[in-house]
């Protein structure tokens, strides 16, 4: 029979084709591009492209309004706006040489990579040219997370802080008069607020302390302990920082006091999508939750009748003096290496990050924390009952963030993956596991250096 050799050749060719086709996606192309446009005349008519990550209709409109304000001041610079862009797309766009001029990222995790690779250009010369003193203009936390090892390749475009959202009606029904301030109080309050169905499953959970419960991630929650992620020489410090095992043990006890991991996880699968009207706090499945300041806008829009309050997220019992602190992050903005109109791009970056009036309006529109000292002072949001705790948290001296790393947020993924195992009872010996995590994180960082 001659069918077999033909078949074999066909199959082998198909195997090669299928496998190689995938390989092709990994490695190809060059960065291209020439001429930065850094010396272009200020009044030259140019078109620049701005890529951002906002996607909700109201947010996209707020960005468009911001751009319209810029155009009113700089009629010679036309800004083409592209929404819903991720960091992966940004890197690919810059690499193609035909990507954006101005780029923004929702995460501070990749600033280290953006700065070290040079894909986002150094903004220090532009700041100096415009006589902008970063230290006097921006609060210290946002200045820290927008630079890496002294290179400032990004500026903050609004910021985020986290706090406790609680259902006032459920508090009143359970006879609770004030939000908890310590973790012991949080645990006791959560137990009082739990409501069970006849079969013992949750109808309402006072709090859901598992790490997949949306914003209650390991990084956000560990911030309440004030961790030191890295040693001064950049090595991972998880096993040497005493608050890290304290954090894991507290979470384990909290999970157990709430009925155990399996019961909580099963309840979590009944939740709607985090950024929809079916969010579990908005739909009444959670009496308390950790969330960012942006939730206030979503509550106003999708759950206007929910009687809720906001407060700083509780802290460990032995750190009550740090009550008010929070994990901080925010949107970052910079100029792409591939931009051919960097002077115009800088004008846009300067406007959106330092123009007080524009920033106040933008922060009000999307309910984010203003990221300049002047806008913080001028923002009417500071007088908003629900929003005030987030502004206070942003200003709190003990608030902190996750440090930048040359390989982006990989060390956070490594920590989170261990946290998921830990809460499922598969974390093994905590001391040894944290030492292993340090070793793995250091190996991963060394790999990209």
């Amino acid at each position: 029979m001659h069918r077999l050799p033909r078949l074999r050749r066909s199959i082998t060719t198909l195997a090669c084709a299928a496998t190689l086709a995938m390989l092709a996606s990994a490695c190809a192309g060059d960065d291209g591009g020439s001429g930065t446009g850094a010396d272009e005349a200020p009044d030259k008519k140019v078109t620049i492209t701005f890529w951002h990550g906002w996607s909700a209709e109201s947010e996209v409109k707020a960005v468009d309004d911001l751009v319209a304000k810029f155009n009113a001041k700089h009629p010679n610079i036309k800004v083409k706006v592209v929404s819903n862009v991720t960091d992966d797309k940004i890197t690919q766009g810059i690499r193609s040489g035909k990507g954006p001029d101005v780029v923004s990222s929702f995460t501070t995790d990749n600033v280290g990579q953006f700065c070290t690779s040079g894909s986002w250009t150094d903004l220090a010369p532009w700041l100096a040219k415009s006589n902008i003193d970063p230290a006097a203009t921006f609060p210290k936390p946002v200045l820290d997370y927008t630079q890496f090892q002294g290179k400032r390749c990004a500026l903050p475009l609004l910021a985020d802080s986290y706090g406790l959202y609680y259902n006032k009606d459920m508090f009143a029904a359970a006879g609770i008069t004030a939000p908890p301030k310590t973790f012991t109080e949080l645990t006791e309050t959560a137990k009082k607020l739990n409501q069970l169905n006849g079969d013992g499953t949750f109808k309402v959970a006072g709090f859901l302390p598992t790490f997949h419960a949306y914003e209650f991630s390991a990084a956000h929650t560990l911030a309440q302990f004030g961790p030191t992620y890295q040693t001064p020489d950049g090595k991972s410090n998880l096993s040497k920082d005493p608050v890290v095992p304290q954090f894991f043990n507290w979470q384990k006890q909290f999970v157990e006091s709430q009925g155990g991991f399996d019961k909580l996880e099963k309840f979590r699968t009944t939740f709607g999508e985090e950024f929809s009207a079916e969010n579990p706090f908005m739909s009444g499945k959670l009496a308390m939750t950790m969330d960012g300041e942006w939730r206030t806008a979503m509550l106003a829009q999708d759950a206007p009748n929910l009687n809720y309050g906001t407060a700083p997220f509780p802290v460990p019992d032995d750190q009550l003096d740090k009550y008010g602190r929070s994990y901080l992050t925010g949107t970052t903005v910079g100029i792409a290496k591939s931009s051919h109109h960097q002077a115009a791009a800088w004008e846009f970056v300067k406007f959106v990050t330092t123009d007080t009036e524009a920033m106040v309006a933008f922060s009000q529109a999307i309910h984010n924390v203003p990221s300049t000292n002047a806008a913080l002072a001028a923002s009417p949001l500071a007088n908003d009952e629900h929003f005030k705790p987030f502004i206070d948290a942003f200003k709190h001296p003990a608030s902190n963030t996750t440090p930048a790393s040359p390989n982006g947020g990989k060390y956070q993924v490594t920590l989170s993956e261990y946290a998921y195992k830990w809460e499922a009872g598969q974390g093994g010996d905590l001391t040894k596991s944290l030492a292993d995590l340090d070793k793995q994180i250091d190996t991963d960082v060394a790999q990209v250096k």
Partner: protein, 321 residues
């Protein structure tokens, strides 16, 4: 004779021109394939091998680092072994079940006296569903808390698995999804079963053989090349398994991956992690293209090894004569 020498030289020159023209014509006919092979196969493979020995962040020029990426991936990269274990599970279980299920449906389809066309159409339709949409649909159907499947199972007193949320059930749930989209195998198995000579069945019936012997000695030898094709392509597809595993993990985990909110590839607990997910994570999330290229090459070598192994073991499936 003064004309002999020039005439002798003229003939080979004409022949050479003719040969050159023939070669050029052949090359012209082959050129589409040659260009495609060079651009889409040879260059990417060569580039991948080269980048696997470099530090490359997609932005700056690659820097030669020797075996560093290979050492890292093979010795200091635990997700690789987890992804390989998952892939092996999927190859053994998912591919086997797909072949058995596809063959079974094909045999049913050709035996149906009435409604065969409708049966084939309904069985084929799920294959046309886009993988992302199908996976999201399955994630909702199999949601442990709100999905109708567990609701039904609960009503009849059966255990309610965690499906995509349970490390023990996540791969079986993906297998269910793969069986639902069996349309591709249904078509080729139905065609191959219809191609089995009828007279062989009639002869077997005259000899009084039973249904199993009929399948073993008549159907099976005739369809084994197609079964082998299904297994080999199934293994290659499973090696490249990405979309369904990634989407199911994202939907079930509820984590979309904002700042400080790290999506865990392979949710839950790495049980749906596959090699292509690692390629993406290393190449485009941590900008470690060298390591991504190493994983790609390992994937290539494993896929080729599987293919050659299956073809060399063909004697168990095929008759050579």
């Amino acid at each position: 004779m003064t004309t002999t020498a020039p005439a002798a030289a003229k003939v080979p020159a004409a022949l050479r021109r003719q040969r050159r023209r023939r070669n050029l014509r052949t090359l012209a006919f082959l050129s589409p394939w040659l260009i495609g092979f060079s651009v889409f196969f040879a260059y990417p493979l060569g580039a991948t091998v080269y980048y696997s020995f470099t530090r490359y962040d997609l932005i700056n020029p690659p820097v030669w680092v020797g075996m560093r990426n290979w050492n890292y991936v093979l010795n200091d990269y635990p997700p690789l072994w987890q992804a390989l274990r998952n892939t092996l599970w999927l190859v053994v279980v998912m591919v086997t079940l797909r072949v058995i299920f596809g063959l079974g449906l094909g045999m049913l389809a050709i035996r149906l006296k009435r409604g065969g066309g409708l049966f084939r159409t309904l069985s084929y339709l799920p294959y046309l569903a886009p993988p992302v949409a199908a996976t999201i649909g399955f994630a909702f159907l199999l949601n442990p808390g709100t999905g109708p499947v567990n609701h039904l199972l609960g009503n009849v007193g059966m255990p309610q698995p965690g499906w995509f949320n349970d490390p023990d059930w996540s791969k079986p749930a993906l297998t269910l999804l793969a069986l639902w989209g069996i349309g591709d195998l249904l078509v080729i198995f139905t065609a191959s079963l219809l191609d089995v000579p009828r007279e062989q069945y009639e002869a077997a019936e005259l000899d009084g053989v039973g249904p199993w012997q009929r399948f073993r000695y008549v159907t099976w030898p005739a369809i084994t090349p197609v079964v082998l094709f299904a297994v080999v392509t199934g293994v290659i597809q499973t090696m490249q398994y990405y979309t369904q595993a990634m989407v199911a993990g994202k939907v079930a985990s509820g984590i979309i991956g904002n700042s400080g909110q790290s999506f865990e590839p392979g949710y839950p607990q790495g049980t749906t992690l596959t090699l292509p997910q690692l390629v993406y994570e290393e190449g485009f999330s941590t900008f470690n293209t060298g390591a991504a290229c190493v994983i790609s090459l390992l994937l290539f070598v494993i896929a080729m090894a599987f293919t050659f192994l299956l073809l060399r073991r063909r004697s168990g499936l095929l008759d050579d004569d």
